[in-house]
Symmetry: C2
DNA sequence: TGTCAACCTCGACGCATGTCGAAATCACCG
DNA sequence: CGGTGATTTCGACATGCGTCGAGGTTGACA
């Protein structure tokens, strides 16, 4: 569960990250970062991510996630795996239930990457 | 060229956007936002986006984008269309060349959405 | 007007992805 | 030990997506 880091921890810990408006993203970094954006690029995964990130107590049970959607539990599980492998969340089994929590490190990198200077408003 | 706003301008101008760590994303907003994340979820598009966002003068010619990659100009054009339809960039033809510029509005929304409080560092 | 260069659209091709049901795994509990 | 509920894995299917070559459109220029 907590054992599926497809994205190397080195890549996750290395701050990529000046805003892309200030500096072009090098090709190697683009691969890892694009994987994270792709993981957020599905409406269901984006909602899952927001439910996990905003969970009171910092974590939430899959059993609380599943009933919020009409798709099958199988598919929810698949989407959670994609988020996990992108390095955005982490899961832990406790008793019969699995709890997911956000990994703020990568989220912060993505946020910084997209940051735009205040003055450049269009 | 500048006429392909698949994402309604209403959706683009409405600030979605409190950080997802503070508030769950409503389903309707998730669709538009996920489209933008998906557009960034390809290594080539992410690099294109960063080249456009960091272009000196605020814009860059397709003819300067294409030679930076090994894929065909057809495919570059396709990727630019995806970024355009997601509301992330805008293109304009001038003389024989087409210039692209970033649309900071949506980028800023995405950045805010991913923002994490300083203290929650893990 | 004809030609050339830049860029886009179209149609096609494989590969990736979202979805499901069935079956496996894990942990509790009687 | 056997049963039950929660979650993941597996296998299959349809759809979506990245890529290309061929051909079309636009604008410059002789």
């Amino acid at each position: 569960m907590s054992k599926s880091p497809v994205v190397s921890s080195a890549a996750l810990e290395t701050p990529c990250c000046t805003p892309m408006a200030q500096q072009r993203i090098p090709a190697p970094a683009a691969a890892t970062l694009a994987q994270a954006f792709k993981a957020l690029g599905d409406p269901i995964r984006l909602q899952l991510m927001s439910m996990i990130a905003s969970a009171p107590g910092g974590e939430i049970c899959v059993c609380d996630l599943t009933p919020a959607f009409t798709i099958s539990g199988t598919t929810i599980s698949h989407h959670l795996k994609v988020l996990r492998e992108a390095g955005l969340i982490d899961g832990e089994r406790r008793a019969s239930w699995v709890y997911y929590r956000p990994r703020p490190g990568l989220m912060r990198q993505l946020s910084t990457l997209l940051a735009v200077e205040e003055s450049v408003t269009v």
